[in-house]
């Protein structure tokens, strides 16, 4: 919260001032900037607050869905229904992937739920990816009931803690870009779902989550930088169009079906989106 207050109170320019700026002295520029700031800050923080509230709400909705999906998944696992478990696995995770910026703020729960092999010591390794490995590598649900139970517990505590999440405007600004960085760092490479190869589900979910943030901030962007908003909307559309090619009846093709050309194509649309998206911090300008 501290950091944000600082940013918001720094005087920044609006276009009108800029045009005048060429022939006014520095002092009068500063005065004008101050005036402008006073009249603008209030509305922006109100709108920002609104976005932050809606995002908190979104976090709740998604974690509700996450609990729901995980419950069904865990039931399948415990019933020994491997096929069903494999089918539910990628979609159950999607709500979590959408709200990773908030989920991650609970330092202890995130690894318990989502650590990949090698992220934590073997004996502490639990969660979705532990189950993934056994289901796909060993082709069984045997010996996984304990992991399944714990997973559901952890997901439920995440849901409970989300209520207390400290969501600040910076969470949104940073989160929108982080989600795409996730995509380029571990989804495009097939690292995240190295046994199930369901990386494209996570890919789509990360993009959804990022898009949600931009949607929530769009009224502010509309005012601050409509060109940026246009660009972002166009580039999100490009990403979804590119993803279309890999859709199947119920989801997405396996990562192993992607050629180098495919991953390059996906990587390029993500980079093209993420670069302008990194300017989204303009919403914090007072």
């Amino acid at each position: 919260m501290n950091k944000f207050t600082k940013v918001a109170s720094i005087s920044l320019l609006i276009p009108g001032l800029l045009l005048a700026g060429c022939n006014t002295t520095e002092q009068s520029q500063a005065e004008e900037a101050k005036k402008t700031e006073e009249s603008k800050t209030a509305t922006y923080s109100e709108e920002l607050e609104k976005a932050v509230d809606s995002y908190r709400q979104y976090g709740l909705e998604q974690t509700d869905l996450f609990v729901e999906g995980t419950t069904a998944f865990v039931e399948a696992v415990k019933a020994g229904n491997l096929e069903k478990a494999k089918e539910l696995y990628p979609t159950a995770r999607m709500p979590f992937e959408r709200v990773e910026p908030i989920a991650e703020s609970f330092g202890d729960l995130d690894p318990k739920i989502d650590a990949r092999e090698g992220d934590v010591p073997e004996e502490e390794w639990t969660g979705y990816h532990r189950l993934e490995k056994i289901h796909w590598e060993e082709n069984t649900t045997e010996g996984t009931a304990e992991y399944a139970d714990q997973l559901l517990n952890d997901v439920k505590s995440l849901r409970a803690k989300i209520e207390l999440a400290d969501v600040a405007p910076q969470t949104l600004v940073t989160g929108a870009v982080d989600l795409l960085n996730e995509v380029s760092a571990s989804k495009i490479t097939g690292e995240e779902e190295r046994y199930s190869h369901t990386d494209l589900y996570d890919f789509a979910a990360n993009v959804d989550g990022s898009k949600k943030i931009v949607d929530l901030l769009s009224p502010i962007l509309e005012e601050k930088d409509p060109e940026l908003l246009d660009t972002l909307e166009q580039r999100f559309a490009d990403v979804y169009t590119a993803l279309e090619d890999y859709k199947t009846e119920n989801g997405y093709v396996s990562y192993t079906d992607l050629t180098e050309e495919d991953t390059q194509k996906l990587s390029k649309v993500i980079d093209a989106l993420a670069e302008p998206l990194s300017q989204i911090g303009v919403v914090l300008e007072g």
């Binding site: 940013v7 720094i10 005087s11 920044l12 320019l13 609006i14 276009p15 001032l17 800029l18 045009l19 700026g21 060429c22 520095e26 520029q29 900037a33 910076q170 600004v173 930088d225 060109e227 940026l228 246009d230 660009t231 580039r235 390029k268 980079d271 093209a272 989106l273 670069e275 302008p276 990194s278 300017q279 989204i280 911090g281 303009v282 914090l284 300008e285």
Partner: protein, 420 residues
């Protein structure tokens, strides 16, 4: 308002969000964020251009062509993903401004007060000298028409000498090392300065262009070569002995007079060949054969049967047994031909470290030449060599591309403005 402050108004950020609104005029003031610092911080740097290790970006010709080769190079080829000419135009405007700043050792754009956006400059050259940075731009054949489509309505401006090279005997060209819509050549005396420049230019283009191929290269540093000799390539031979060096030669060999297309006046055509050198094989070759391969002595660089590196070559000189000192299939004999085709060579060594399939060194020559007409100059030379050059046993041509590099930009203008 000075040129400088005006140009600072068009920040990278604004360019990224182009919606086709177009011209500079419109963009000025469309979003003023960050400009207040620009007003103060950069004005006093106006004359940094004169700093001893800065090479002016603006001028009749683009720098980086007849510029004495600096130590490091990055050469990239890019494909355009947009189909709007206005995007390309904006990109070149912005590249021009960024290039002008960087070649004066300035940041691409100033730091601003909002710490929740990434800085406009990536920062790794902050505080470093200009290091003779040059940035050179070119257009590939596919810029004008791709798969038969006149993508930007400029097909009629495509010069006839801008097309991909024919294939030569022995070529082992790999698709991923060919062509491209645009190229950017960055050279500098410092590798970090060079990398910073290429990285920031790629960043500016994100969303409009994607990387097609990229190759870095090097030669010895000036510090390492106190005698300022001709640099040696990875075969250990002096490379660059015979090369145009006077204004007259540059006019005759390098610069276009614009007769084929007015926009290319004062520009030139770049040929790139990525040539792998089979160092393992070469290193097993005895000295006599090495020298016969080039027709020159390895240590002194003198033509065989001659005294000095820079001696005029008499190809008819014979040894006791009546054979020409310089073999008829040697590289310099074939490269020279009857002397009617000349090019400006500006090549660099490259090392991509290891070829994993063979556990061998993956190294070679990033061959770059500039000429008025690749098809009248480079092609006949390469044709002669492709068939019978002794050197062929030790090299493989892996990559190939041709680009038309327009004349330089004048202050207030931008690279390519004569074309758009």
């Amino acid at each position: 308002m000075s040129d400088e402050s005006k140009s600072n108004k068009i920040t990278r950020r604004e360019m990224l969000y182009r919606t086709g609104a177009g011209g500079l005029g419109l963009l000025v003031g469309a979003s003023g964020f960050g400009t207040i610092s620009a007003l103060g911080k950069t004005l006093d740097k106006e004359d940094k251009q004169t700093a001893e290790d800065a090479i002016p970006f603006y001028g009749t010709h683009q720098s980086g062509i007849i510029t004495k080769p600096q130590t490091y190079i990055y050469l990239i080829s890019l494909d355009l993903t947009t189909n709007q000419l206005s995007d390309v135009r904006d990109l070149f405007k912005e590249w021009t401004m960024a290039s002008a700043h960087m070649s004066k050792a300035e940041l691409v754009g100033p730091y601003t007060d909002n710490s929740y956006v990434p800085p406009e400059d990536t920062g790794e050259a902050d505080g470093l000298s200009a290091s003779k940075l040059t940035i050179t731009y070119g257009f590939g054949p596919t810029f004008f028409d791709k798969n038969g489509s006149d993508r930007f309505g400029l097909a009629s401006k495509k010069p006839k000498q801008l097309k991909s090279l024919p294939s030569f005997a022995g070529d082992q060209i790999e698709e991923q090392w060919t062509g491209g819509d645009l190229c950017v050549q960055v050279c500098a005396e410092d590798k970090q300065v060079a990398f910073h420049a290429i990285r920031n230019l790629i960043r500016i283009g994100r969303g409009i262009v994607t990387l097609r191929w990229m190759q870095s290269g090097f030669q010895r540093t000036p510090q390492a070569d106190k005698k300022k000799g001709t640099p040696r390539n990875l075969f250990g031979f002096k490379d660059g002995t015979v090369n145009p060096s006077t204004d007259k030669e540059f006019n005759d060999i390098v610069w276009s007079n614009g007769s084929e297309a007015p926009w290319i006046k004062n520009g030139s055509y770049m040929v790139m060949r990525r040539i792998r050198m089979l160092l393992e094989v070469w290193d097993r070759t005895h000295l006599n054969e090495q020298e016969m391969t080039f027709g020159r002595e390895k240590r002194s660089g003198a033509p065989l049967g001659h005294q000095d590196e820079f001696d005029d070559i008499n190809f008819d000189k014979k040894d006791e047994s009546g054979n020409p000192h310089i073999p008829v299939d040697s590289h310099i004999k074939l490269a020279r031909g009857d002397g009617s085709e000349k090019i400006l060579r500006r090549s660099y060594s490259y090392s991509s470290e290891m070829d994993p399939t063979r556990a061998q060194l993956d190294a070679g020559l990033l061959f770059i030449s500039y000429q008025k007409d690749p098809f009248k100059q480079f092609v006949p030379i390469q044709k002669r060599m492709a068939g019978m050059d002794r050197m062929n046993e030790y090299i493989r041509h892996i990559g190939s591309a041709v680009f038309a590099c327009p004349g330089g930009a004048s202050k207030g203008g931008y690279i390519g403005d004569s074309l758009f």
